[in-house]
């Protein structure tokens, strides 16, 4: 019995890790809040958010709340499901029962959406997916707005291939094994540096965490020595920040002796970029609110929209980071 529970817990915890989008994270704190009330000709939108598991997610929530404000003609009913897939489906059902005009979902898991999406379609309520997608048939939802992780990796790789023209030894700090951002960011990057003078000498998972990034980087430094590594590619900022600690502890200067490329552009990462400890960051933009709001209006007006809308990610070098930092929303 004891063993079963422990195994179950382990599986649950690993499952939660695998679900996270841009950054890492597990279960979130409580964040459910709803706004009732109905305005005259406001568009009532139900938004089922995953939870509040990371800084990226908090910024995403803020962006959605701003874009779906009363000033913009919306009445937003917000629900955060704390990474509980069943609770999220229940929330969507309650949106359907309340007869909202449109539903926006950031799905926690890909599977299990067919029934509730069918119910929404039967009720004539359009569904817009945000950030992550679902495995259900495309006919059951209007559109998806999100990010292309592979493109992020590709942008980082292109910059690396242009910048490092001499022989370069690179180590990679991978995200959580098997997660979509980790897989796609690796694929995009590897394709972009194919044929360049960059050699990937090692790659290991740091689980998207600072501690993981630091521990793995320490191991790499012991294995190859400070002089054996020229470049670090981290699948997110947190691991890059951990790597900075490890490089400094090894007596080298991050950003100079060992260059660092990373993805996400969260505040601490941008600060490190501005300080010259990271050399290049490709953004994983959480500010999807405006795009989502525009799509909701378009769908309700009967306009035809693409099934996939990809939000362009920016990329930053040191000067761009210094310029952008004061106005960063996250």
């Amino acid at each position: 019995m004891k063993k079963t529970i422990i195994t179950g817990l382990a599986v649950a915890a690993v499952g939660m890790l695998a679900l996270t989008a841009c950054s890492s994270g597990a279960e979130g704190g409580s964040g459910a809040a709803s706004d009732g009330g109905s305005g005259g000709d406001l568009i009532t939108v139900g938004f089922a958010q995953t939870g509040s598991e990371s800084g990226w997610r908090s910024a995403n929530t803020e962006s959605m709340k701003t874009a779906f404000s009363t000033d913009n003609g919306f009445d937003l009913i917000f629900n955060a499901a704390d990474n509980d897939a069943a609770a999220q489906i229940a929330a969507v059902r309650s949106f359907i029962n309340q007869g909202v005009d449109a539903i926006v979902i950031a799905p926690i898991v890909e599977d299990g959406w067919d029934d509730v999406l069918q119910e929404a379609a039967d009720a004539g309520i359009p569904v817009i997916l945000e950030d992550r997608t679902v495995s259900a048939s495309e006919d059951l939802y209007s559109t998806w707005v999100g990010l292309d992780f592979q493109l992020e990796g590709q942008k980082a790789g292109e910059w690396a291939a242009e910048t490092f023209t001499g022989p370069t030894n690179m180590v990679v700090l991978e995200g959580t094994t098997g997660s979509a951002p980790a897989n796609d960011r690796a694929t995009g990057f590897d394709e972009a540096i194919a044929g360049s003078s960059i050699t990937k000498i090692d790659s290991q998972t740091g689980d998207f965490t600072r501690d993981g990034g630091k521990t793995v980087m320490e191991g790499f430094l012991q294995k190859y020595g400070v002089d054996g590594i020229d470049l670090v590619y981290a699948h997110n900022d947190d691991m890059a920040l951990g790597a900075i600690e490890a490089i400094e502890a090894a007596g080298a200067v991050p950003g100079e002796d060992i260059k660092i490329i990373s993805i996400d552009a969260v505040h601490d990462g941008m600060q490190a970029l501005a300080d010259g400890k990271i050399n290049y960051i490709v953004e994983c933009n959480p500010l999807l609110g405006d795009k989502a709001a525009a799509l909701v209006k378009a769908v309700l007006n009967g306009e035809s929209v693409d099934k996939r809308t990809i939000v362009e990610d920016q990329a930053f070098d040191q000067d761009a980071a210094i310029a952008a930092l004061p106005d960063r929303k996250y």
Partner: protein
């Protein structure tokens, strides 16, 4: 020779020695320890330093398991303690002051202690099954830590705080001395006084020991408080290592690794007899195994399998049943005068 082989720490020690040998054979720089600015630096030193959080948690877990209990909340307690300490330092006007850091550390440990008192209360007074009693905090604690940090990763620049995990005391990392201090003080209290024997008595038969006049309630309660305090210190070391409170990742799954370390060290989950030295070896095996995955360059997708295979081998060779089968094989072999080969094979 036979006595050495029969010692219960022989197999864990052999496993650790084998891991180190394999690593140094694959990459000789694994053993290299260099002196830099009067501080030792090398892969082995990293293992000693990075094992500190798991060491503390596993020591606490050993005592809890000895009382027939289990503490699943240690990871969550780590997250809470780190979050509390960092929030205090972040909010203070003097983050670089030793006083600020001391206040933060003491407050964080005090909060951890309260959580331990709660666990102990549920288990020893209300008689709730330990796995359920501590599951409550395991789930709620991390949420509380996220509330403290507002869901963000709190980062601080505080030299005295960073010293806890990254600093050196003379030639060795300070975190290593924290481990040693914890091992020494627990060993002295448990083994030089009657407390260790009473703890084992409670674990072997709570009812009999109660009838014999052992105050089992206090002993069990104390075990959970100790476990939580050690987890609190582990949380501070974790946060200090990355200079940030990462409430989502701090101590994630560490309860399972701590239980694994205890089992690798030869302590039974049934409670009763426990081995602190075994737990220390278990922690070092796990930490060395993590380094091995890095040094051998095992791909991330395969590393959990590699980890599992090594653990299974170590656990199987420790199994009494397997060993008695091998002995039986050896005995029948001896009759055919071929004892030497089977002995070596075992």
């Amino acid at each position: 020779m036979r006595n050495i082989v029969r010692h219960r720490l022989f197999w864990p020690a052999l496993a650790l020695a084998t891991l180190i040998t394999v690593n140094s054979a694959a990459r000789p720089q694994f053993l290299r320890v260099t002196m830099r600015d009067g501080e030792l630096y090398g892969a082995l030193i990293d293992i000693l330093r990075n094992s500190a959080p798991l060491m503390l948690v596993a020591l606490g877990m050993t005592i809890v398991i000895a009382t027939r209990g289990i503490d699943l909340s240690v990871g969550a307690v780590m997250a809470v303690s780190g979050a509390v300490a960092l929030t205090i330092i972040d909010g203070s006007s003097d983050p670089n002051g030793v006083g600020t850091v001391l206040i933060a550390v003491v407050t964080a440990i005090a909060v951890a202690m309260v959580l331990g008192v709660w666990n102990g209360l549920l288990v020893s007074v209300f008689g709730i099954q330990p796995i359920i009693a501590t599951l409550v905090l395991m789930l709620a604690g991390r949420g509380a830590a996220l509330l403290v940090t507002d869901g963000f990763i709190t980062t601080v620049n505080s030299e005295p705080f960073a010293f806890i995990a990254s600093g050196y005391l003379t030639v060795l990392p300070f975190a290593f001395f924290i481990s040693v201090a914890a091992i020494a003080s627990i060993a002295i209290v448990e083994r030089r006084t009657a407390l260790g024997m009473l703890t084992e008595a409670v674990g072997i038969n709570p009812e009999a020991s109660r009838l014999a006049g052992v105050r089992s309630r206090g002993i069990i309660w104390g075990a959970y408080v100790l476990s939580a305090v050690l987890a609190g210190i582990a949380g501070i070391i974790y946060a200090s290592n990355i200079k940030a409170a990462d409430a989502n990742a701090a101590g994630l799954l560490i309860e399972l690794y701590a239980i694994l370390a205890v089992v690798l060290g030869g302590t039974s989950l049934q409670g009763g007899t426990f081995s602190l030295a075994g737990t220390v070896l278990g922690v070092l095996i796990i930490q060395t195994l993590n380094s091995t995955i890095l040094f051998m360059g095992i791909p991330s997708a395969q590393s959990p399998v590699f980890f599992a295979v090594v653990v299974v081998v170590v656990v199987v060779i420790q199994s009494q049943k397997v060993r008695s089968w091998i002995r039986a094989l050896g005995a029948s072999g001896r009759n055919r005068r071929s004892a030497a080969t089977t002995e070596v094979a075992s």
